[in-house]
Amino acid sequence: MYQYDAFDHAFIRDRVADFSDQVARRLSGELTEDQFKPLRLMNGLYLQLHAYMLRIAIPYGLLAPRQMRRFAHIARTYDRGFGHFTTRTNLQFHWIKLAETPQILTELAEVEMHSLQTSGNCIRNTTSDHFAAAAKDEFEDPRPWCELIRQWSSNHPEFSFLPRKFKIAITAAVKDRAAIRLHDIGLHLTPQGFDVYVGGGMGRTPALAHCIRRGLPGSRLLGYLEACLRVYNRYGRRDNSFKARIKILVNALGPDEYKRQVEAEWATMDASRIDPPSDEIERIRAFFPLPDLSDAAFDAAAHARAETADPGFARWVKNNTHPHKRDNHVSVTISLKPIGGTPGDASADQMDVMADMAETYGYNELRITHEQNVVLPHVARADLYALYRRLDAAGLGTANAGKITDIICCPGLDYCSLANARSIPLAQEISRRFEDARLSDKIGDLQIKMSGCINACGHHHVGHIGILGVDKQGVEFYQILLGGRADEKAALGVITGKGLPAEAVPGAVERVAQLYLKLRKDDNEPFIDTLERLGREAFAEALHEPA
């Protein structure tokens, strides 16, 4: 992974000093709360229901074991012993003290971590493919480009006060595991260069991004992004924060006109000053070699015996491993969705276990996914049983990756001051409803995504089943959406039926799942395919109790 040089260290040192000074001036009154708020947001600090929430950046989801251990230390020392991994592959702590934040940031900087631009009206964390460098369908490892963008966007002087937040995602594979069409800018790297998608997003006015350029050479990427950002900075709406994202601008202008303005702007820029020469991306790329993967032969017979002896292990292999470029390796998904647990949460002890497992079996590499799970991208198949036993002992062995109990869920009204309704208790109820492993395996791949409010941090627009908390005079109600997809066939879910009270939702989901089992053409037709084949209306009635 990328290693900081003296410049990178100097930058985050300066950043910590800058923010520490701002905190001191806020505490003394020299800065008003109104003036301080965007500054603290640009350092990842929200004020929530219980205390400050600190959102730590995990650039493109990549973590080293020592960084995961530092999270555990911060959880124990400064918070309540656990953290929450988010759909933008960052980490949140919910009980942070403002006065302690400079010290926390100093300790993060020691392991090359920061909270830069994880909130605020600026360029946020660039996210990517959690199977990068491991998946067979990948053209190229996208992560060097993520790092290039991360540096370019850090403290960018022109784009620190945008109309609203700005999110970028990159993939370089056939399958889209980063939901690029749901981002302000989505980049798809192909052999011909970058396909540039603009204007996607969720929230009040969800939209899929439009492709405005195909085959953009990597050597021109940053300049093109500058042009895209400048047009947005100048012409994005500033009169109404609900209409301030770039998707509104792209929709208002039309993608062709937006593209015309971007490319006119691009033509005025001096590329030689903005686009680094190729040695910079090559320098970064050198930090992302494929690990020296073991040649250990995979003993299929021994593995089969282990699976027979331990059916839980067999399930876990079937559900939580993903094929790897090398036949004797797989990528492993560590589920942070235990039955009845808080989706995406990990205790400090569990963080330490994951760090240990990455060191022992995972070539020192961990990834956070936008589905709030953790991936060990490279694991020798010969090591799977030993790894599974250690994970299972730590409550990290739930064999439900991509299944109905692998629920994506925001913190909701139990933590977040923006929420309309609680989300976690309902996710826990639904999870318990399907805890029978045979049932959930029979249902197969089915993505439930839940948000406690329209800000859509739970990505409910792109769940196969989406659940949105709404406020009905202070009573928590939930709208169900059907048919969303976050992959390369991206689609927005459609609200189906009336809002339901919390106690009615698990039953509604169960009836939908049972109807799917009845209607699917065979055991191999996944839920989303059946839904698309038959249409939402076929499932709408199932949402409500039979008369």
Partner: protein, 158 residues
């Protein structure tokens, strides 16, 4: 409790920290400048609001000694683009940040090409000089002379 820094009367300072007086240049609003500068002699200042397109004034730069770029609220970031566009176009005159101009934005204003600040601060001169040194590292090119890190790396300065 200290009084907010922004409660002090704005003072005009340049990037060197010198307090500036009235330079006596007549200030035109944007629409008048666009309509009339072509036919005028001498040098003027032009006031640019965030929604106004500075490129409309590029044909008249030789008549413009100073731009007053307005930040009605410090969160309105359009002035950064206006400034940078002017510097990219070769404008060599004064770029003055006016409006809700506060200490914590001076560093990035300097990077975007501003060289004068109507700054609300207890110690505006010291603040502007200190702001230039807030960050020793710049990752990207902007309108200033700072070398982006990728270029320093090329030059072997790591």
């Amino acid at each position: 409790m200290s009084r907010p820094n922004s409660s002090y009367e704005p003072q005009l300072v340049n990037r060197a920290g010198d307090v500036l007086g009235d330079d006596g240049i007549e200030t035109l609003d944007f629409d008048r400048a666009v309509a009339e500068l072509d036919g005028l002699n001498g040098s003027y200042a032009v006031r640019v609001e965030p929604a106004q397109d500075v490129r409309e004034l590029l044909p008249y730069l030789e008549h413009i000694a100073r731009f007053d770029i307005v930040f009605p609220g410090y969160r309105d970031g359009r002035g950064y683009s206006s400034a940078r566009i002017l510097r990219d176009a070769g404008y060599k005159g004064a770029l003055r940040a006016v409006g809700d101009v506060l200490r914590d934005q001076v560093f990035i204003m300097l990077r975007c090409g501003f060289d004068e600040f109507l700054l609300k601060d207890r110690t505006p001169s010291e603040t502007v000089v200190a702001a230039a040194k807030r960050y020793s590292v710049t990752y990207q090119s902007a309108a200033d002379a700072a070398t982006p890190v990728w270029a320093l790396r090329r030059a072997g300065a790591a």
